[in-house]
Each structure stands twice: as structure tokens, then as C-alpha cells.
């Protein structure tokens, strides 16, 4: 008859204590350090995206500001030209123009003397 050794410990306990090199295969999990590193990298990426977007928005703002300035400048130039045109076409300017100076005196209008 073969004597069989029966451990009073539970089989699990026995196997762990007997063979310390045993590897327990569990579902893939990361260590605290890795997780921290990944989180930091993610935050960095998000930060970079935010900064990129912010910079992009700012560059648009600069573009807009430039356009606004251009519009203001052109509007001002348009106003200046409108003023110049109004001055040149004013009755006073027309009276003192060279064209007016070269004109001959008009005769009494026909309709007024008929």
C-alpha cells in the first residue's frame, strides 16, 4: 500500500509555498509608475493640442486684427476720396474752375423772354 502524503494546508497554499518560482498568469495590468507616465503623456498631448489650437486661434485673431486695420484704413481712404470728390464737384469749386473762367456770359433765356 502506497502511503500518500496529505498536506494539512490547502492545496493552493501548498503550491505557493513549495514552488516560489511559480508565475501566476492574470489579465494584463500596468504598474503605478507606468500608469502615471501614461497619464502624464496623455496630459502632455492634450496640453499640446490645446496650445496648438490656442496658437491657431490667436493666429486667426492676428489675421482678423490685420484685416480690421486694413478695412479701417481703406474706409478712411474712401472717406478722404469722397471728401475730395465733394470738394471738386462743389458749386463753389465749379464757379472758380478754369472751365468756368473760359465760359462766355449767357444770354437771357429764351423761355424767360418769350
Amino acid at each position: 500500500m502506497r502511503n500518500e502524503y496529505v498536506s494539512r494546508r490547502s492545496s493552493t497554499q501548498t503550491s505557493w509555498s513549495r514552488n516560489r518560482n511559480m508565475v501566476r498568469h492574470t489579465g494584463g495590468s500596468l504598474g503605478t509608475l507606468s500608469l502615471s507616465a501614461i497619464l502624464a503623456m496623455l496630459l502632455l498631448v492634450v496640453g499640446l493640442i490645446y496650445l496648438t489650437q490656442g496658437a491657431k486661434a490667436t493666429s486667426y485673431d492676428y489675421e482678423l486684427s490685420g484685416m480690421d486695420n486694413e478695412i479701417s484704413e481703406l474706409t478712411a481712404q474712401k472717406e478722404d476720396l469722397a471728401v475730395e470728390k465733394a470738394r471738386l464737384t462743389s458749386v463753389a469749386a465749379a464757379e472758380t474752375s478754369q472751365v468756368a473762367a473760359n465760359m462766355e456770359d449767357g444770354q437771357v433765356s429764351g423761355y424767360a423772354s418769350e
Binding site: 471728401v83 458749386v91 464757379e95 424767360a112 418769350e114
Partner: protein, 574 residues
Amino acid sequence: MSRIKLLRYGLLIAVGIIAVRLFVIQIFQHDEWVARAEAEHTSQNTIIAKRGEIYMMEGDEPVPVVLNKAGWMVIVDPKVANEEKTERAISEIAGDKVVAKWEDVFKDKTRRYYVVARNVEREQVKKLKEKKLAGVYYQEGNSRVYPEGEMASGLLGFVNAEGKGQYGVEGSLNDQLGGKNGLLKTITDVNNVALSIGDDNVRIPAEDGKNVVLTIDRTLQRKVEKKLAEYLSTSKANHASAVVMDPRNGKVLTMATIPNYEPEKYAEVKDGNLFLNQIVDVAYEPASICKTFTFAAAVEEGVMTPETTYNNTGEITVDGWPIKNAHSGQLGVISMQTALNYSLNTGSMTALMLLGGSKSEITKTGREKLFDYYYNHFGLGQATGFELSESTGLIQEPNKGYGLNSRYANMTFGQNINLTPLQVAAAFSSLINGGEYYAPTIIAGEMKDGKFVKAEEKKSVRRTVTEKTSETMRAMIWGTRGLQRLYGIDKPGYYIGGKTGTAQGIKDGAYTFDETTGSYVGFGGRDGELPEYVIMVKIWEGGQTLEGTADALPLFNLLSDTVIDHLKIKPKEQ
């Protein structure tokens, strides 16, 4: 105690202090620091509304007569600026815009702000900035430009240094022309560029002022002013005004006063009276012109016709006061037409008596009826409904006060009553246009996105007299110009009428002939048709006697011909 422990305690205390300080800043002083931060990052600017432009009519097209232009103010800090260099540079580049005396600018160096030039143009500022002058600053603003120069200055008014319209159209329509400023509040960067980040950005766009189009005919305005100036150069008067209206709709075609001033240089004007629009701002006694209204009331009431006669004794005593004619002739029994032709005061007083049902005295009923016609029918002594501010004038009520009969006797020939030339012209228009009173108007519409949007045509406000009375009065008023027709002043084919007025000045509380104002109101148009224009002229000078017949009538004749030519009114074929 070990050093490490000391360090620990030291650090703990330092951290504690920081924590307490942060707590105070973030909790107790939260609002203050937020405000500071906002002030640092936020830029808040007023978006200045563009002031509306003013247009006049040239044919059917509106043309601008008042515009805006960017203009800079040049400010000098005498403590910092180099006297010689600054003066030379500014005088060379923008000498025409300098408003300060250089010797005054650098006299007081404790004064850190001295405006040396105004309305400096873009190119001039550019050149000045290139010089990099220390202690010289530039402030941008808007300046008003009047390309027609002095023309219609009394009508247009000006805009003061604060950007507020003063007098005339600029003053009266300041709210419409001024628009509403907007607001721009944004987060900015170090270059003061507005950034779109931030939740509190605010942009309220400015509402630009209305571009107003006036009914004024630009060329006619110029021609009338030129005629007034030419006429004054040969007259003893230095002041004259004229208003030209279309009696068929109340549109004001010309509103002129001489002398004028440069609205862009309003600060140089020494006589404040030049700012007044004499046609609407100043009420005066138009004198015998009012006889037309008195006679119209009597005709309308059926108590008088042009042929009605009375005995002209040269004067009528009222309340113990003898009221005389200015013209001493035409004594005896004469017609009302003759009384109007010779502008006899006894004629208009007789009309008042007839209005009250008497032939020999002025009665309460007569006074009440005259007041009713003057005030309620013809709108005299009250605002006309014109779009610009106007003087209401003054009219004596029929049953209030003392000496009412003599006052009303005077009112029949335009004394003891204060009216503006516009009131008279509007009332006179109704007298000769068939009896319809149109409130005088100067607004033709507005310019919107470069297009002319016409204002609604004004309708008759009320009837002043019947068509028949209007026809009678037209003929009576035409009758006064017999001499003008005889001497060919009134061209054949045209139907022209009018009435003179010579208002006595007041000296020491009594009327005097030492200083008088001449007036004339008349109409004209193609013979056989309703009149196409009404002209009211006024000519005056302190210490001078200007008369309706001798001074205002020839001026009317000049203007009447000008209007006929300008409006191309064809004569009736003879």
C-alpha cells in the same frame, strides 16, 4: 534642536504664511484681484458711430454737402518736447492746422498738455511720426467737412470740439445724425490685439447716424446767396435773408442768410448772431405783409371784397392813439385793392372793423376773429411743424392784457406781433395755393446704403381759406405789382404777386422810423397756373432804415428772376 528640525519648522512656517496669504487673496480679496487681472488682459473700447452726412438736391440727385474725415489732434508736452525742433517740424508739415501760438505753448512748462493743431490730415501725421518728435502725441478723431465752404452755414450749423451738433441742421437733428456708439470688450495680448478666447468678450456694434437729405436745391441755394451778397454790396444793409418755398407742397428750396461763416472755422466767428438761422430762429415784426392775412380773413368771412370802399382819412384813432398811414396820399373814398396797393394801415384797420361787424370801431368779435385766422388758420405765432428747431414767435391773445384794440389795430399791419419769416412764407403759401396749409419741410429723405430713400410726401395740414378766397387774394396780391408790370420788371407770361413790409424799430420803448427792417413776400409762376414758388426776403441793418418797397422789393425781383431761370419755368404764350 537638530538643524533638520529647524529647517522643517522654518518650511512649515513659510508654507503657512503662503497659505494664509493665498487664502486672503483668493477668498477675501477675490473680486479685487479678478478686477485687476481683467483690467490687465481686457481691452474696452468705444466703437465710435459714424456721424450721418448731410445732402442737398442737385436736380433729382442728392449730393453731399457735409461729410466726415479722419482728423488728428496734435498734442505737445512742453516739458518733454524740444521747443525749436517741435515748432519747426509741425509748422513745416501741418502749419495750416496749427491752432496755438508757439510762444504760448512753451511759456508754461508745468502744463503737460497743449493742443497745438487740430484736424491734421493722415499724410501730415504720417510725416510727423517719421520725425519721432519727443513729447508730441497724436489723437485720432473725426472732423466734419463742409465742401461748399460758407454756403448755407446758417442753415447747416456746425459740430463742436466735443462732436456735438450746434445750430441749424447739425444742432436740431443731432440725435439722428449722431447715431449710437458701440462697445468692444475683449481679452487682448501684449500687442493689444483682440483675442477670441475668453467668455466675457462683448461686441456691440455702433449704429451709424442717419444720412439726411435736405430738400434744399444746392445750385439755387448758391445762386440766391450770390444774389443776396451782390445786392448787399450796393445797399446800406449788411444783412439779408431769403427763403424760397414750393407752395404746392411746403418744400423749402432755399434758406439763405448773408453774411455767412465757415462752419469748419466756427471758433473764429466773433459775432454769435451769424450762427442763427434768421429764417426760423429769429421772430420779428414783418409789418405790412400781414395785411394780406387780415384782408384774407375779411374776404373769407364775406365782409369784404377787393372792391369794398371806405373813406381814407390818413389815420384812425384807436384807444385814444391816432394810427396813421405810412403813405400820405390816396385820401377819400378808396377801394380795399387800392388800400393794399398803397399799403394803407387804415385799410387793414377797416378790415378788422368789418370782421367785428362794425364800420367805425374795433370790437371784441373782430379781435377774436382776427386771432382765429392768424393763429388757428394761418398758424402765425406758433411752431409750423418744421423739422428743425424754430422760434414760435408771439401773438397777443384777443381778450388778455390792456390796450387790446390798439394792439389789434397794429396787428392788422404786422406790428405788435412777432413771426419768423418761415411762418410768414408758409402761411402766405396757403393763401395763394388754393387754401391748403402745408407744414414747411426740409427733409427730402435719407441715403441708405448709397441709395436715396425718399421721405413720404407731406400732405396738407389744414385748409386756411376756401379756394375762392385764395383766388381772390392771389388777384389782389398780383394787383400790388402794377408798376413792376408797367416797367417790364415782371416778364410777360408770368403771374407774379407780392406784398411789402417795413417794420419800425423800437427805441426807448416806442416805435421809431430811425431804424426799420424791409421785407417782401411774393409768389410767381406761369401765368394761368398755380404759383410754383414763394419767396420771402428780409433786409436789415442796425441804425439804418431799410424799406419794403425801396430795399426788399428789388431784392425779391432779382431772386424771382433767378428762381424762374433756375426752375426753367416757361411763360404762358401771349
